[in-house]
């Protein structure tokens, strides 16, 4: 069976693409899937850091593309899981060192031996985005519950929808603070879905464990960890109800009932 290439992207920077890619990769690996994570953020690599693999890097994606090593040699094995690998981004080269064709070729070579190939993208809609999206069978849009992140997500979805070959797109809402939503200081899950009208596949709460575990290069535990595991299961085809979402939207509904009277 052929593996699925899933690109994680956002438009706006700093919303949690790398955090999502890393934790999703580790969560899927814990479900005994065969995973490759590719860092397509050339020049600004940090997926290796968040996965705790920085010190094991010898070659990178640009080395592969320019023929200095084989794909196999650039793959960094994760210590914690038997079937989790990373292909790191180059730290020095600029993003034009890689083309969409390169990305497609790399993904093709990996598809037969892995269940999921996760691609972390750079922020923005330029060159690096086009590279990251080129091999994708599916796209995960990561957004935060604020107006500017959602606006950028909307633009990206528009770009992908009008792509030559439209790619299925699903949404991950990261850093949801249910308290703030309740007070109306933040967009709710319903607000965001109402605007973007795409399918929701994950809701990750704001969680201080994220920063700590990223610094240590391990999978996040706690509420965010559970949410990433749920996301992984849903991507794997399982039906997992949205727990935290149900709570917030129930609150929302009550609020609306009162506001409208």
């Amino acid at each position: 069976m052929s593996g699925r290439v899933i690109t994680v992207t956002s438009g706006k920077g700093g919303v949690g693409k790398t955090t999502t890619t890393a934790n999703l990769a580790m969560a899927l690996a814990s479900l005994e899937k065969r995973i490759i994570a590719i860092d397509a953020d050339i020049g600004l690599r940090n997926l290796d850091l968040v996965m705790g693999l920085e010190n094991r890097i010898v070659y990178d994606l640009v080395d592969v593309v320019e023929g200095r090593c084989t794909l196999r040699q650039a793959m960094v094995k994760h210590k914690g899981y038997p079937y989790l690998y990373l292909i790191p981004a180059s730290q020095t080269r600029d993003k034009t060192a890689i083309t969409p064709q390169n990305m497609r070729a790399v993904a093709m070579e990996l598809k037969d031996s892995y269940d999921f190939i996760l691609v972390d993208s750079p922020a923005g809609i330029e060159w690096g985005f086009k590279n990251a999206i080129a091999p994708a069978d599916e796209v995960l849009i990561v957004t935060n519950p604020d107006v500017s992140a959602v606006r950028d997500a909307d633009r990206i979805i528009g770009l992908i929808e009008t792509h030559d070959v439209p790619i299925p797109v699903r949404l991950v809402i990261n850093r949801l603070k249910s308290g703030m939503v309740r007070k109306g200081e933040m967009l709710s899950v319903d607000d965001i879905i109402g605007l973007l009208s795409i399918r929701l596949v994950g809701v990750i709460p704001e969680d201080e464990n994220v920063l700590r575990s990223s610094n240590q290069g391990v999978a996040v535990a706690g509420p965010a960890g559970q949410a990433f595991l749920n996301l992984a299961r849903r991507l794997d085809g399982e039906q997992v109800p949205f727990q935290s979402l149900e709570i917030t939207s129930l609150m929302d509904r009550f609020r609306r009932l009162f506001n409208n009277r």
Partner: protein, 240 residues
Amino acid sequence: MQDQVEFKGIREGILITIDPEAEWGDVLSDLTARIDNQAAFFRGATIVLQLGKRAVQRPELARLLNRLRERDVNLASVLSTSATTQGATRQLGLALDLSEIGPAEGVRQATPQIERPPEYPEKMFDDEIVGSEGILIRRTLRGGRVIRTPGHVVVVGDVNPGAEIIAGGDIVVWGRLRGVVHAGAMGDESCVICALDLQPTQLRISSLISVSPPTNKRRKPRPERAYIQDGQIKAEDWNH
């Protein structure tokens, strides 16, 4: 009288057809005057010129190109059957063929064809045909998309914040309208804007502007229609 310069919305942008017999100097001043009259509509627009069999030398075409650039109008292509004009077009780096430039937006172009039963007056159908030119967009317009056409625009889907529609005619949105819309952008004050949920960031008809009051976000959506009355933009329930 037949216009020497004619405008029409096409997939690639705005098609401007110039009567091959008209005097070039007249054409030039007429064209620039009409663009200046509707500056808001043309700013940033992509246009295609249909020059027919007219032979235009490179300096003449370059002069026109400059005038357009000064007005922030992007001339993408010149269509012509004259070898002279084609040569000038190539030398200026413009496309000779519509296939060389992509469509301006993912739109469907409808050529209106209405059959007239003999018992109906001809005039009535002429009006409908002339007034019916428009484009149909069958998807949500997301942030960053700009639709610009001299005709009407119908969107089956939402118009999200950050998206923009500039239409010479009416705008009808079968969905939520939350972006920026400008109907009657070429000066027609009779144009209307309708939506199932009318909450635009900004709404313009002809030269009037109305900014949405910060309404209760949670209000129940209802179809509305905006139009000009007594020199003001009004919105009313769209149930008739």
